[in-house]
Amino acid sequence: MSIKAGCRSFLLCVSLLILTAFPVQARSVQQLRSGEFIYSEQRTIPDKGWQRQDLPFHDFFDVDKSVSQRRNTLWGRFQFRAAQSPEEPTALLMDYTTERFIVYLNGVEIFRNFSDPTARTFASFAPAIVPLTLEHMRAGNNVIDVRFESDSGWCLGVGHVSVGPEKLLRTTYDRQYLLQFLGPQVINGVIAALTLCAFLFWTRRRQERSFFWLTIVGVLWWIRNLHYSAVDPPIGPVLMWESTIYTLFGLISAFFGFTLTVFDVANRRKWIAFFVGLGGAMIALRFVLHWFGMSDLASYLFVVPMTLTLVVICARAVFDKLSVENIVMLLATTIAISFSFHDFGWLGNAWEGAGFQIQPYASLIVYSAFLFTIGRRFLGALDTVENMNQVLAQRIAEADSGLRASEAARRDLEISQAVSEERERLMMEIHDGIGSNLITALSAAERRQAAPETIAILRQSITDLKIAVDSLEPIEGSVVSLLANLRHRLEPELQRAGLSFDWRVMEAPDLPWLDAVGALHVLRILQEAISNILSHSDADTIIVECGPLQHDGREGISIIIRDEGRGFDPSLPTAGKGIANMTTRAKSLHGMLICKSGIGEGTAVRLWLPVEYLENIQSVEA
C-alpha cells in the first residue's frame, strides 16, 4: 500500500467515525440547549436558587475538589413544550449522567436508575433513556427535574438532554450506547489482546525495547479506557476516577518512551528518564493540588507542551526519512493529541465537538499504528535476516566450491609436480649420463678421426635422444611447439646436408590428449618424413605446413611435410615400410596419414590429428 493511499483511507476512517458519532437530530426531537441547576442535598425539588447553565454542564475542572467541601448532589431542571394532546410515547434522553439519578416529570418522580441509595453505578458514559409517562404530561410547557448524585462529588453534571418521540430517541440512544459505551468496551478488549501480544513478544526478545514500551502504553491505556465502560468498579467510583486521571500522566511518559525508542534518538535513555520524571512530577503536582483542595487544571496544562513535543519528535523523524512508518507515527501522535484536545475542550465546555469523548477510538488507532510501525520494522528486519541468510548461504556455497576447486587443483598440482619431478630426474639422468657419454664418445671419435659412419651414428643417436627429451617437455598439447622444436633440432643437420625449410606454420589448436607418448609418436612421424626427404628426394627445400583443418566435420590439425624432389613409385614394395610405420603411429594417435608421391612429382606426407578423440573410435580400437 502506498503512503498516499494509506493516509487517504486512514483519514476516511477517522471522518466516518466522527460523522457517525454526532447525534442524529430528528425534527420532532427537542434538543435542549440549556437548563437550570442547583447544588442541593435536599430530598425534594428545590424551590429557588436555580441558575441557568448551558448544556452540557459538568463540574469536572473548575470546582473545589477538597474532600471537606464535596458537593454530592446536583439538581437539574429542563423545560420543554408538548403538543396539545400528546399521544405518541415520549421519552427523555440524557448522556453523561452521574452514578445515580432520579427523574421527576412536572413534580412527580417517574424514574430512578437505582433502588439501593448506596448503589455506585459508574456507567456515566452510557446514555440514559427515560420514558415520560403520558398521564403526567401536560399540553404546552412541561418541567423535568433530575436529581444527580455522585460519591466523588466533582463529576456531577449532564451532557446532552433531548425530549421527543421515544421511537426516534431510541434510535439515537442505540447509536450512542454503541459508540460511547459498547465501542470503548470492545476497543479495550482489542487493546488488551494487542498488549498481551506485545508483552509476550517482549518476554521472548528483551532487547526489543520498543515492545516493552508498547506494553506499558497498552497497559496504561487499557486502565485509562476502563472508565468509559466500567459499570460497577470494585475499587469504587472515587478511586476509579483517580486512577483514570493519574494514568494519563503515566501514559504520556510511556508515549515518550515508545517514540524515542522507535526513532532511536541520541541520548535516548536520558530523554526517556527525563520525560518519565516529568510524568511523575505531574502526578505529584496533581496530588498536591488535590490535597490542598485546589483545581487540578494546572496539572493538565502540562500535558499540552509535552504532547506537542511528541508531535515535533515525530515530525522531525518524517523530515529525516519519509518512510511509511514515520508518517504513520506522526499521524497517530497527531490523532491522539487532537482527540485528547477534543475531549479536553468538550469536558471543559469549550466546544460541543463530537458530543462525547472520542479518545477510546484514538487509543485503538494509535495503538494499531504503533504496532504497525514496529511490526513493519520487525518484518523488515526479518527480511534483512532472510536476505543475509541467503547471502551467507551463497557465500558458503561459493567458498565451498572454491575450496573444492582449490583442493582439486592442489591435488592436480601435486600429481603434475610429482610427474615433473620424475621427468626432471630422468632428464638429469639422460643429460649427465647417456647424453654426457655420447658427447664424450663423439668428441673422441672426431678427435681420433673415426669412420664417418661412426660419427654419423653418434650424431644420429644424440639427435634421437634430443627428440626423445623434447617429447618429455611440457608443451600442453601444442603440436606447433613440437614441430617448431623439431625444426630447431634438425636445422643444423639439414644445413650440413644443404637443405632448408620453407616454414609455413600457422597457429593451430592444442590437442588436449597429447601426452609424452603421443608427442614422441608425432615427432617420430615427422622425423621419418624429414629423414626420407634428406635421404631420397634430392630436393633442396622441405616445405612444412601446419594449420587447423576439419575432417568429417571434426576439428583437427593438419601437418604436411613435402618436397618437390624426385618422388618415388608408391607401388614399389621397398617404399612401403617407412610409410606403414608412420601410418601405424598415426592410427595409434587416432589420426590419419596419407603419403602421396610419384616419380618426378615430389613427395607429400599429410598427417591429420583430431582435437578430441571420438568415443566410438576408441572402442573400435580397443
Binding site: 632428464m427 678427435r447 617448431a484 606454420v505
Partner: protein, 213 residues
Amino acid sequence: MIRTAIIEDNPAVIERLRAALGGATDIHITAVAQSFEEGWALVIAGGYDVLLCDLGLPDGSGIDLIRASTKTHPESDVIVVTIFANQSRVIDSVKAGAKGYLLKDEQLDKCAEAIREIRRGGSPISPIIARQLLRRMVPEQPARPLKEALSGREDEVLNLLARGFSYAEIAGLLALKGSSVGTYVKRIYKKLEVNSRSEAVFEATNRGIIDVH
C-alpha cells in the same frame, strides 16, 4: 678481445671448446674451472666478458654460479653449456641471469660465433623456450602485474619464435633488421630475470606472512 671463462666438468667438452675457440683471434680463454668450488673462485675473481657455464657440476648447481656471476659482474654475459637445452634448465638459467645457451654437440664448433653474437647483444632461443616465456610473461589472468611486461613487438617476436620461425624469417615477416631478433630475445631474457627476482621477493614475503606454523 672477448675474455672468456669456462666452467665445465667434462674434459672432453673443455677440449672441444678449446679447439673451437683456438682459431678465433678475438676470443681469449682467461680461466677454466672443472667443479663448483673452482667455479665459485673463478666467478669471485671475475675478469671475463663471457662465462660459459655447465649446469650439472659434481659438487653443486651451475645455476648458483650463474646467479653469483650476474650479481657480481652484471656487465658480463653468461652462456649455459647444455646437451639438450631442455626448457626447464634453460629457463632456470635465464631466471638466474644467463643470456644464452650453447648445445654441447654440433654447436660447440660454432661457439666462437655464439660468443660474438651474445656480445653484440643477441641471444639464442628454442621454440619450446619461447612458448614457455609466453606462458610466463603473458599470463591470461596475471595474479599480479609483472614488474617488466613484454612490449607488443616482443610478444609478436616470441609468438613467431614459438611457431618455429628462424631469426631471419621473423626479421623478414616483421620488417626488422636481421640482428634485432636476437636483441629482442636477450631483452626478453633480461625481463624474465627481473620478474623472477621480484617474484622471488614477493613469494618470500608472502610465505613470511602466510607460514605461521
